[in-house]
Symmetry: C2
Subunit: 218 residues, 2 copies
Amino acid sequence: MNWTGNDVHSDLREACVAEATAIIAEAGVEALSLREVARRLGVSHQAPYRHFESRDHVLAEVVRRAYVRFAHALGRAPQTGNARTDALAMGMAYVGFALTHPLEYRLMFGGALPLPSAHPEMMNGAREAFAVLQRTIEGLFAARGQAIVKSDIDRESLFVWSSLHGVVSLLRSDALNTLELDDDARQQLVAHSLRKIGMALGIVPLTDDAGPAGGGAQ
Amino acid sequence: MNWTGNDVHSDLREACVAEATAIIAEAGVEALSLREVARRLGVSHQAPYRHFESRDHVLAEVVRRAYVRFAHALGRAPQTGNARTDALAMGMAYVGFALTHPLEYRLMFGGALPLPSAHPEMMNGAREAFAVLQRTIEGLFAARGQAIVKSDIDRESLFVWSSLHGVVSLLRSDALNTLELDDDARQQLVAHSLRKIGMALGIVPLTDDAGPAGGGAQ
C-alpha cells in the first residue's frame, strides 16, 4: 500500500492496523514493528507513533478486532429459544470460526499477547467473546432451573472453551496424522466432541445416533 | 559439547540427538539443521549424515523420544484396578506431563512435524502414547460391560485427548489472562475439566464436590 501522508489521522490509523495485519499474515507476529508498518505505508518512521505508542499497541488493536469479530461470529449463531439447541449452535460457530479464520484464531489463543493489563481495549474484546459463552451457559442453567452463580458459570464456561479449543487445535495439529486412525473417528471428532461436551454439561444428546459410546451415566 | 570424532558410531548418533534437542530448546525447531548440529559437536558437516539422512530425520527421532517418554508418563499412572480411578489418574498424568515438559509437549502437539509417513518410528512412538489412552478407555468400557468396538474406542479417545489438550493449551495461553475471572474458576480448570470429561464418558463424579454445575442429565 502506498500512503501519501495527506490524509486525515483516522485514515492513517486504519492504514496502520491494516498493514500490521498484513505483516502478521505474511511473516508472522515476530515480523511486526512500527518501523516496518511505516516503511510499507511509505510514511516517516515517526508517523505511526501519532496513533500507536508502540508495536504492542498496534498488535493489541489487531488482536482486539479479532476478538470482536470472534464474538460477533459466536453471537450470530441462531437463537431458537431452546437453550440446548442454541448451545450446540454456539459450539459449531466456535469451531467454524477457528477453522475458517486460522490467523485470527492463532493470534487470540496461540501465543504471546501484549500484556493484557496494559491494553484494556484488547481485554474488552476478549471479554466480549467470553461473554457470549457465559450467556450460553447461563441459558442452559436457567433452562433447567439451576441457580445462576457467577463462579459456576465461569468454570463451566472455561471447561467448554478449553474443550472446543482442544478440538480445533487437534484438528490443525500434525499429531493427529501420526496415528493410523479409523477415518470415521477423525471425521467425527467435531460432532462427537460437541455431543460429549453436551453430556458433560448435563445436556441429553440432541441426536439419537450417539451409539454405544454415547451411553449415559453408570 | 565438544566432540572428538574418535568415538563409536552409536555415540555420535546419541550426541546428535542430544545436540538437536538442545538447539530446539535454545532457539526453536526452526533453528535445527544438521550443519548446526555438526558445528556444535565440532565434527565435519558430513558426520551427522552417517546417522541421519536429513534434518527431518533427527527431528523425527527427537519427537519419537518425546512420545515414548510421554507414553511412559501416562503408563506410570497408578493402576488400582478401578477403571474410573485409573482413568482420572491418567488424565492427571497427562496434564502433569504437559505442564512439566512444555518443550516436549509443544514438539509433539504444537506445530509442524516431519511427514509422519516418512518417519515410521516417530509414528510408533505416537501410537504408543495413544495406546495408553485407548487402553484406559477400553477399561472404562469393560467395567460397565460395554462392547469393545475399535471405532468407538478411537472416537472416545480422540475426545479425551482433545479435551485434555485444550486444558493444557489454555493454561499456557495468554488469552486466559485477558479475562478478569474468578481466581477459583481459573485454579479449578484442571480439576473441573477432568470431572467434566469423566461425566462426558459416563463416569459418575468420583468426588461429591461437583456442586450445582456437576448436575446430572436433564
